[in-house]
């Protein structure tokens, strides 16, 4: 297993820049996810690491060795694609053993490794079955087996769960992460699904239009999004974004939003009057009968112990996640109170996060 270091990676297709000056390091044994909408450059980045595309400029180091211009077959990595391409006429054993046969691994050794792989994936009992009658989950396991059996330096996965239904995807998310915990293999995983990314990753790079917008742990990306794009992309429902004009002094702990005083974490620097966006997650909003930012309820969605309440404010629609025992009537006017230490501020024009003082982490059960 190995560290993967990507430095100033750039890829242009004619006039179109697919990946812009991308730099990041995936530590040995890390589960790293590249997350973004289609066309953001995540798959192109993955294909360059695999050697299926050559970079326009920049370099890729795999376990300390510069592999930027090496062929895919010369890089010791295994690629798992979205569509599990299995050989339909072969058994599970034949499919998993195939890469070893190609490498000329001795039969006894190959048999041992295939069975070890099947044991890790818990499909030992399926080894001598044909792949035709397998469930989609088991087919996915066989496809993974074919990658694992090679014992490569790193695994690259391109939306491997994209073809599965919700329930099966949930099962495979847990299996993939548990598998990673057993193998501790360096893994780069590409997806557009924020839930997969949050649930599995040690580190996430959120990509948009060829650029890495943020590279951090899942919780940090969720708590402190670096840009408006990240704030909007991560979270379900996504972060509420209220647009307003405002200014503030360094250390200020309130902002005037359309005549309402709203508490914020202390401003890191003086802020001249400009177009701003205030970001607050649905779970950091409290509903008040009186006071607060006034809003009219459009509807409530029951989710068991919690509910999502959608409200209309003078700054657009806001969604709040509150306990479901609070009765909410459609059309009723309420006040919104934001948890100050969890409020984010962004510059509306650049989309960049405006630095605010880190409030002490509040921990409760």
């Amino acid at each position: 297993m190995a560290e993967i270091r990507v430095t100033h990676l750039h890829k242009a297709f004619g006039d179109f820049v697919a990946v812009k000056d991308s730099s990041f390091t995936v530590a040995d044994g890390e589960f790293f996810v590249m997350l973004g909408p289609s066309g953001c450059g995540k798959t192109t980045t993955l294909r360059m690491i695999a050697g299926l595309e050559l970079p326009t400029s920049g370099s890729i180091h795999l376990g300390g060795e510069d592999v930027s211009m090496k062929r895919a077959s010369e890089r010791d990595i295994a690629f798992v694609f979205q569509l599990f391409a299995l050989y339909p006429h072969m058994t599970v054993r034949g499919n998993i053993a195939y890469p070893l046969k190609n490498q000329g691994v001795p039969r006894v050794e190959a048999k041992r490794r295939v069975e070890e792989t099947a044991r890790i994936l818990r499909i030992l009992d399926l080894l001598d079955r044909g792949v035709g009658g397998l469930s989609s989950g088991d087919r996915q396991r066989v496809a993974l087996g074919r990658a694992i059996v090679r014992d490569p330096l790193a695994f690259l996965m391109d939306e491997p769960l994209g073809a599965l239904d919700t329930e099966m995807r949930e099962v495979m998310i847990h299996e993939l992460r548990a598998l990673h915990d057993r193998l501790s293999a360096t893994t780069i995983y590409v997806t557009h699904d924020q839930h997969e990314a949050m649930a599995m990753a040690d580190k996430i790079a959120v990509m948009n239009r060829g650029l890495i917008e943020q590279f951090d742990t899942p919780q940090e990306i969720y708590d402190n999004p670096a840009t408006l794009f990240v704030a909007d992309f991560i979270g379900s429902p996504s972060m509420n974004l209220l647009r307003f004009h405002g200014a503030g002094r360094r250390g200020a702990t309130t902002m005037t939003v359309g005549g309402n005083e709203i508490a914020i974490p202390p401003l890191g620097a003086d802020l001249k009057e400009t177009s701003l966006v205030l970001g607050v997650r649905p779970e950091h909003i409290r509903l008040l009968d009186e006071g607060g930012l006034r809003a009219r309820t459009l509807g409530a969605e029951y989710l068991g112990t919690q509910q999502i309440v959608t409200l209309e404010t003078g700054f657009g629609t806001v969604r709040a996640r509150v306990p479901s025992d609070r009765a909410v009537a459609r059309g009723e006017t309420l006040g919104l109170d934001f948890r100050a230490e969890r409020v984010s501020l962004f510059d509306a024009a650049s989309g960049a996060r405006i630095p605010t003082g880190q409030a002490a982490e509040v921990v409760h059960g």
């Binding site: 992460r177 997650r281 649905p282 999502i308 479901s324």
Partner: protein, 338 residues
């Protein structure tokens, strides 16, 4: 608008009983969701109400009238399918106007125009009216398909997983929209899905289906808080309810017939190991952003519960788990009476 009453409705395909003696009344203006996995019989039920399938036994009444043998056209119902079926050669406008232009309806052009515009605005496809239907994204096509049902204003709407082909963000927007539209129209709606979030957020009542039978019928809150059996209990709630044998955790009074304990997050107390005897180990903390899934090992039983994302817990930590008013089930999986 209308009430729909199903009485002993049964439909067989060869040896398979797709819908088995189904009795259920959908009130006027109600939003009823039929929830269940593939093969539970929910789509067949919907097709029986629409008149696309005929029952082998039982009766169907709409607005008090026996419709068991009526043709689909006589029922004044409209059906939105999972797969959008638009006229590819027509514009979005003409697709939406199509149901109103039927000779039987004779809606004046001016009224057609205003209704199409209203529905298009509602579904946020107002700027696409002149596009050819085939030049739309999947999400837009599905909204046109829903729009075509809305524009007719029938007495009953039937929808079969209409949001399943849309991406998560659009789906969550349309959930709220659909609910609002249904309330504004006062329409009677039967909606089929396997997505528990859609069921919980939109339904006035949920019919949980299992192998052709109605397992339970009630408000989302009743189904969530008071499930009649293990099957229903596992249908709602994320993470899924944890089922552990009695005796795994100490509880106060429990019914004599209880064999299993059902534990949702709100039924589990977690204390740091220091404050009590540790009985479980953290196997994994899965970050979801707003909350985290805490995976636990309790004497060989795997449990999943929600915790605050900033809770100071990590893999390998020992914790003390307690149960608080769990749900009890008997050996057969039925809710054990207190």
């Amino acid at each position: 608008m209308a009430e729909i009453a199903l009485a002993g409705l049964t439909r067989r395909f060869g040896d398979t009983v797709a819908v088995d003696d189904l009795t259920l009344t959908v009130g006027d203006g109600e939003f009823v969701v039929l929830l269940g996995p593939t093969g539970a019989g929910k789509t067949t039920t919907l097709r029986l109400v629409a008149g696309i399938e005929r029952p082998d036994a039982g009766k169907l009444r709409i607005d008090g009238r026996d419709m068991t043998a009526a043709s689909p056209a006589e029922r004044d119902v409209t059906f939105v399918f999972q797969q959008y079926s638009l006229y590819p050669h027509l514009s979005v406008y003409d697709n939406l106007a199509f149901p109103l232009r039927s000779p039987a309806r004779r809606v004046p052009e001016a009224e057609i125009r205003s209704r199409v515009q209203e529905v298009a605005d509602l579904l946020r496809i107002g700027s696409k009216l002149q596009n050819r239907a085939t030049r739309l994204s999947g999400g837009e096509m599905q909204r046109v398909a829903i729009g075509r049902a809305l524009v007719r204003r029938p007495s009953v709407y039937l929808m079969d997983e209409p949001l399943s082909s849309l991406d998560a963000k659009l789906r969550s927007e349309l959930r709220l929209e659909l609910k609002r539209i249904q309330q504004d129209l006062g329409a009677t709606l039967i909606y089929v899905t396997h997505d528990q979030v859609e069921a919980m957020t939109m339904a006035t009542r949920i019919g949980v289906m299992n192998r052709g039978r109605l397992a339970q019928f009630g408000t989302p809150r009743e189904i969530y808080e008071d499930p009649q059996d293990v099957y229903v209990a596992t249908r709602l709630g994320t993470p899924r309810i944890n089922l552990v044998p009695m005796g795994t955790l100490e509880v106060g009074a429990a019914p004599a017939s209880a064999a299993w304990m059902g534990l949702r997050t709100e039924h589990i107390e977690i204390r740091p190991a220091g404050s009590g005897a540790a009985n479980a180990t953290v196997t994994r903390v899965e970050h979801l952003g707003d909350q985290s899934h805490l995976h636990l090992d309790l004497a060989g039983q795997a449990l999943v519960t929600l915790v605050n994302p900033h809770a100071p817990l990590s893999r390998g930590d020992r914790v003390a788990l307690g149960a608080r008013n769990p749900l009890f089930f008997d050996a057969a999986g039925r809710r054990a009476a207190a």
